[in-house]
């Protein structure tokens, strides 16, 4: 079996095994309600981390606006569900449509934002994605959609232009967001989504397209010199990455009955949190992303005293990981350990 195929299967197996263990524990009544509450978030963060990993780990560009794509996915998905709620009663179909819409919208935003953003590099690209993420949040907070006897009403910035008739209800009420979203998301759906996204992501990076994306990361000039259309593949990676974050957003929206676009939900903080998962799990490792997302979400919940320090721990993780990977002293130490390991193996072989 090819090495890459093996990697994919191990990761898929790991996710399935975790799912089985959790389900069994739940059936035995061993999972506290607190733990149950974080199962879907773990799936959401895993999805977003996989998506961001394509952008950071494979394309090599830092996006600080992924919470924005998650936000687009969440709001478009939730709106879709709210519109169709009256017509479609099958929850699975409702969710699949919402997922499709959310993913497409996130991909569309990824594309639109990508056109200007991907012309930049490095620090500038990061700060512009951050700016776009904030703009998306800011704009959503100023959209008003309502429904009454005479149909749907829309407003931007000024909600007073909407005069609701009797039995009128708000669908999207600016900063108050969308409420009464049917709670369709559950752990099983989350796991299924992760499995699908994993297969897509692994197959992507182990294909012709994936190699083109990684070649741009490793050496843009050399990639151009062998005829790779850098803009096209950068865009492709960015859009796919955004679309996966969008899927995470749809899952998020249907896990809560009310969603609002606040800084903690969809702001820069969320982007950083996802980045922490990617960095800790290892840039370029989808399996690592999932493990990091699960550990860093579950640990502070399990050790209750830790939850106050969660964000502080995240920040230390970021700094420590970078120093560990790049500081000259830590590199020396790692090289030394690798040498020792090799010697030991050599000795064994000689014996």
């Amino acid at each position: 079996m090819k090495k890459t195929t093996k990697q994919t299967l191990i990761t898929l197996g790991m996710v399935l095994a975790c799912y089985a263990v959790v389900e069994i524990l739940m059936a035995l009544g061993l999972v506290s309600s607190l733990m149950k509450g974080v199962l879907v978030p773990v799936c959401i963060y895993s999805l977003c981390a996989i998506g961001l990993n394509i952008c950071v780990g494979y394309l090599g560009e830092l996006s600080l606006g992924h919470a924005g794509f998650m936000c687009v996915g969440a709001f478009s998905g939730a709106l879709c569900t709210k519109f169709l709620e009256g017509f479609i009663h099958n929850k699975a179909i409702l969710f699949i449509i919402a997922l499709f819409v959310g993913v497409c919208m996130a991909a569309l935003f990824g594309f639109l934002i990508g056109i200007p953003v991907l012309r930049l590099n490095g620090d500038y690209l990061a700060i512009v994605t951050l700016a776009f993420g904030e703009i998306i949040k800011n704009i959503i907070n100023n959209i008003y959609i309502a429904k009454d006897g005479s149909g749907y009403r829309f407003a931007f910035i000024n909600s007073k232009t909407i005069e609701l008739g009797e039995e009128g209800t708000w669908i999207l009420n600016g900063p108050q967001g969308i409420s009464k979203i049917p709670r369709i998301s559950n752990f099983t759906i989350g796991i299924v989504l992760i499995l699908i996204v994993l297969v897509i992501s692994y197959n992507l990076v182990n294909s012709r397209t994936g190699r083109a994306i990684m070649s741009i990361r490793d050496n843009r000039i050399a990639a151009e010199s062998i005829g790779i259309n850098v803009t096209k593949y950068k865009m492709l990676a960015f859009v796919i990455s955004a679309a996966i974050a969008g899927a995470g957003g749809v899952l998020y929206a249907h896990n809560l009955s009310t969603i609002t676009a606040t800084p903690t939900n969809f702001g820069y903080n969320m982007s950083i949190m996802i980045l922490v998962f990617v960095v800790l799990g290892g840039m370029g490792s989808f399996r690592g992303s999932i493990i990091a997302a699960a550990l860093l979400t579950l640990l502070p919940e399990m050790l209750r005293g830790l939850s106050d320090y969660r964000m502080l721990i995240y920040s230390i993780v970021l700094i420590a990981m970078m120093l560990f990977n790049w500081a000259p002293k830590s590199r020396e130490w790692r090289d030394m350990m690798v040498e020792k390991f090799k010697e030991k193996r050599l000795k064994k072989e000689v014996d």
Binding site: I200, L204, R208, M214, R217, S225, G227
Partner: protein, 252 residues
Amino acid sequence: MAVLEVTNLGISFGGLRAVDGFNVKIEEGQLYGLIGPNGAGKTTVFNLLTGVYKPTDGKILLCGKDITGKTTAEINREGIARTFQNIRLFKGLTVLDNVKTALMNKYKYSTLEGILRLPKYRKVEKAMNERAMELLKIFELDGQADYLASNLPYGKQRKLEIARAMATEPKLLLLDEPAAGMNPNETEELMNTIRFVRDTFNLTILLIEHDMKLVSGICEEIYVLNFGRELAKGETSEVLKNPEVITAYLGE
């Protein structure tokens, strides 16, 4: 018809005329050398030919087709591949994947076919693997196909870069100091490989080199550049005897 025909190529950086009035005509299958003292503008010529810089004036014809002003990627697809003075490999990819990446414009399937692993994906990937291994074998890299490119020793990295450029099936191959940093044995070996690929694939090669043994050993004709302008050109042995060329290299 000449594979490469360049007329009056020139570029200015601010007030500096880095290359001026460069004319060259390379016939198919020829091994052509481009030499000159440091800072003469040799690499700039390569950058102009491959579209890294846009020429301020002049015309570049590849097999009679005007490619002036096209992007680097387009020019590669037209048929010019190159290596770099400071090696530019895809360090995070394996040796095999470095070559496979370069095969991507010749062996195609869509992104969707890749994600869904349709039969076409398997077929094309198999063909790609075979082709890539063939190329690696020529450069004696087949034993290290699974190594990360960054873990190869220096000499092999240079070879891999040539193999990668070859994978795009170029009509014209540009080698920027292929023997830099190699010891005499490695250089000797490299000369044989270059000759071999030229003969096997009927390739046209233009190379920049400071190692005069290599240049006089394999180049049929050379072009000498000094301060961005032509100093001499013609048959290698003749040009190397030219007193002006010797002065440019060794000083008065």
